[in-house]
C-alpha cells in the first residue's frame, strides 16, 4: 500500500472538511451540521449511500467466489474490509442524525448482514495467515465458499426487503418489482467502482475489473432507461456520472492512466450519491443546485472517517494482505491473474460435494431456527432468512474448531 498517498488523501479530506465547516459558518448552515434539521435530508442521503457501500464489497467478493472468478486474495480482502468500514460510517450517521433519518430500516437485518460479513472477513484472514497453524488455515479455507453460498441470498433478501419497505413507506413512486433489482444491481456496480479506487491505492491495476465495470455500466444504463420508461422519473445527472462517464474507459489513454481511471471511478461513486439524493429528496441534482457548506462538511466527514477506518485497519492487518501471493505494481493484459493456479473441476454427484457436506447440518439448523422465529414473531418477511443465515454461518464457522479439537483428541488418544 502506498502510505504516503493515503496520508496525503486523508490530510486533503481533513482540510476540505475544515474548509467546508468554515464555509458553513459563512452561509449560516452550521446549526444544520450540529443539530440537523427536519428540512435537511442530506444526512439521510449519506446514510443510504454508506449503507449501499456497506453491502457492495462483500456482495462483489461473495459473487466472484461463487462464480469461480479468480481474483487475488488481497483484492477480496480489500472489498470485504471496505464493506465493514462502510457499515461503520453509515452507523455513525444513523447515531448522530437519528432524528433526521426517517428511512424505515430493518436494523436487525442489516446488523446480521454486518455480522456475517465480519465472520466472512475473519475466516478469510485466518485462512490467509500461513504463519499460524497450517491445519487451521486449511480448515478455514474449506468453509469460505459455503459461507459465500449462505451470505449471497441473505444480502439479496435483506436488500430487497429494505427497498420494498422503503418504497411502500417513503415514496410510492418506487413501489414495484423493479426498484429492488435496480438497487441490487446498483450496489454491485458500486462495488466494482470502489474496487478500482481501492486498488489504485495499492499501486495495482487489474484490467479484468475495469472491463467488468464497463460491461456493467451498459446494463445499468439499460436498467436506468427502463426505470425512466416505467416510472417516468429518473435522475439524469446520476445517469451522466454513473453510466456515461465510464464509457471514457474505451479510450486507451484514459484506461491506462491512473488518475483518469481514478476520476472515472470517483464519478461513478458521485453518480451513486446523486441517485441516493434523488431517491430520498425527489429533486434532480439537488446536491449541486442547492449547495450548502453543511452538506459538503457531512460528505467530507463521512469520506474522512471511511479513509481513516479503512486504511487504519489495512495498515494494522498488512501482514495478512501482503502475503506470499502478492503482486505489486502495474500488470499488463497478458499477466492478468496469471499467478493464480487453475484448479481443475472434478465432477461430484448430487449432494456429495465437499461444500454441501459442510453446509448441510448448519443450514438445516438455521432453517429450523428461522422458521421457529417466524412462527413465534409472525414476521415471515423481515427476519426469517437473516436469522437462518446467522445461525448457519455461526455453525459453519464453528466446524473447523470442532474438527481440529476432535483430531487433536484422536491423536492424543493414539499416543497414549
Amino acid at each position: 500500500m502506498n502510505s504516503k498517498v493515503v496520508t496525503i488523501v486523508f490530510i486533503g479530506l481533513c482540510l476540505l472538511l475544515l474548509l467546508s465547516v468554515g464555509g458553513s459558518f459563512w452561509d449560516g448552515t452550521f446549526d444544520l451540521l450540529l443539530h440537523g434539521s427536519p428540512v435537511s435530508k442530506f444526512p439521510e442521503t449519506l446514510f443510504v449511500f454508506w449503507l449501499g457501500m456497506s453491502q457492495a464489497g462483500v456482495l462483489l467478493s461473495v459473487f466472484l467466489l461463487i462464480m469461480n472468478v479468480k481474483i487475488h486474495r488481497r483484492t477480496s480482502l480489500l472489498l470485504e474490509l471496505s464493506s465493514l468500514c462502510g457499515l461503520l460510517v453509515s452507523g455513525a450517521f444513523a447515531l448522530f442524525y437519528s432524528e433526521q433519518i426517517s428511512v424505515n430500516v430493518n436494523f436487525y437485518g442489516i446488523g446480521i448482514v454486518g455480522f456475517i460479513s465480519l465472520l466472512f472477513f475473519t475466516t478469510h484472514l485466518a485462512s490467509a495467515d500461513s504463519t499460524e497453524s497450517l491445519a487451521l488455515c486449511n480448515e478455514m479455507l474449506k468453509i469460505r465458499r459455503p459461507l459465500a453460498w449462505i451470505i449471497l441470498p441473505t444480502m439479496f433478501w435483506v436488500d430487497s426487503i429494505l427497498c420494498l419497505d422503503f418504497a411502500s413507506a417513503h415514496d410510492p413512486v418506487w413501489q414495484g418489482a423493479l426498484f429492488p433489482l435496480y438497487v441490487v444491481s446498483g450496489i454491485f456496480y458500486l462495488g466494482l467502482a470502489l474496487l478500482v479506487v481501492l486498488l489504485s491505492f495499492e499501486n495495482y491495476y487489474n484490467r479484468r475489473t475495469e472491463r467488468f465495470l464497463m460491461l456493467c455500466s451498459w446494463f445499468i444504463s439499460v436498467l436506468f432507461l427502463w426505470m425512466l420508461l416505467v416510472k417516468g422519473e429518473g435522475c439524469i445527472s446520476s445517469f451522466v456520472f454513473a453510466c456515461v462517464v465510464p464509457q471514457f474507459l474505451f479510450v486507451k489513454a484514459v484506461r491506462e492512466n491512473l488518475w483518469s481511471r481514478l476520476m472515472v471511478a470517483l464519478c461513478i461513486l458521485f453518480g451513486f450519491l446523486l441517485k441516493c439524493d434523488f431517491v430520498v429528496c425527489h429533486r434532480e441534482s439537488r446536491l449541486i443546485l442547492d449547495f450548502k457548506f453543511a452538506d459538503a462538511s457531512l460528505l467530507f466527514a463521512g469520506a474522512a472517517l471511511f479513509v481513516a477506518a479503512f486504511f487504519g485497519v489495512r495498515l494494522l492487518l498488512s501482514r495478512f494482505f501482503e502475503n506470499d501471493e502478492i503482486l505489486m505494481g502495474e500488470v499488463n493484459e497478458n499477466d492478468d491473474d496469471a499467478d493464480i493456479e487453475e484448479k481443475k473441476d472434478v465432477y461430484c454427484s448430487p449432494f456429495s460435494a465437499p461444500e454441501f457436506k459442510v453446509v448441510r447440518l448448519p443450514v438445516l439448523c438455521g432453517i429450523l431456527v428461522g422458521v421457529a422465529h417466524g412462527y413465534f414473531t409472525s414476521d415471515w418477511a423481515g427476519l426469517v432468512e437473516p436469522v437462518a443465515a446467522y445461525v448457519s454461518c455461526v455453525l459453519v464457522c464453528l466446524q473447523p474448531f470442532v474438527h481440529l479439537g476432535l483430531s487433536k483428541k484422536y491423536r492424543e488418544g493414539k499416543n497414549k
Partner: protein, 147 residues
Amino acid sequence: MSMFANAVACLLCLIFAFVLCLQKGMLRITLLMLIAVMTSCLYTSFAGNLAIPALESYPFRMVALTFCVYTTRLRENRRRYMVLAQTFWLWVELVGCVSLLQVGEEAPWIRLAAIAEIALGCCFMAKISREIEFGLIVLWMAVWMFF
C-alpha cells in the same frame, strides 16, 4: 399479457439462449446479453401496458428464462449454474410477488412454487442427459406459459 404475447416472449427467450450458446468470449457474450435485455424491454413496452405493475419486471423474467435455457448448453459446472439461473428467476419472481402484494394485487404464488420445485429438483440430478435437458426446457416453458 395475452397468451399469444407470452408465447412470443418465450420464443424470444429461446432464440436469445440459442444465439448465446453460439458465442465465445466474455465481450461477445456480454454484448449479446445486453441486446437480449434491450430487446426484452422493447418487446414488453410494445406488447404490454406498462401501467400494469406485474409488467415492471417482465423483461428481467425473460432474461432469467434465457439464462436458464442457456445453462443447459454449458459444458462445465452445469448443475451449479442451472441452479443459480433458476435462483435468479426465483428472486425476480419473489420480489415481483411481494411488490404486487404491497399494491393489493394477486401474486402468482404457484409460479413461484413451481420454479422453486424445479430448482430443487435440479440439485438432485446426477447426470443431465439430452432428454432431461429437453424436459427441463419444456417444464420452464410450461411454467412461463401456464402459471
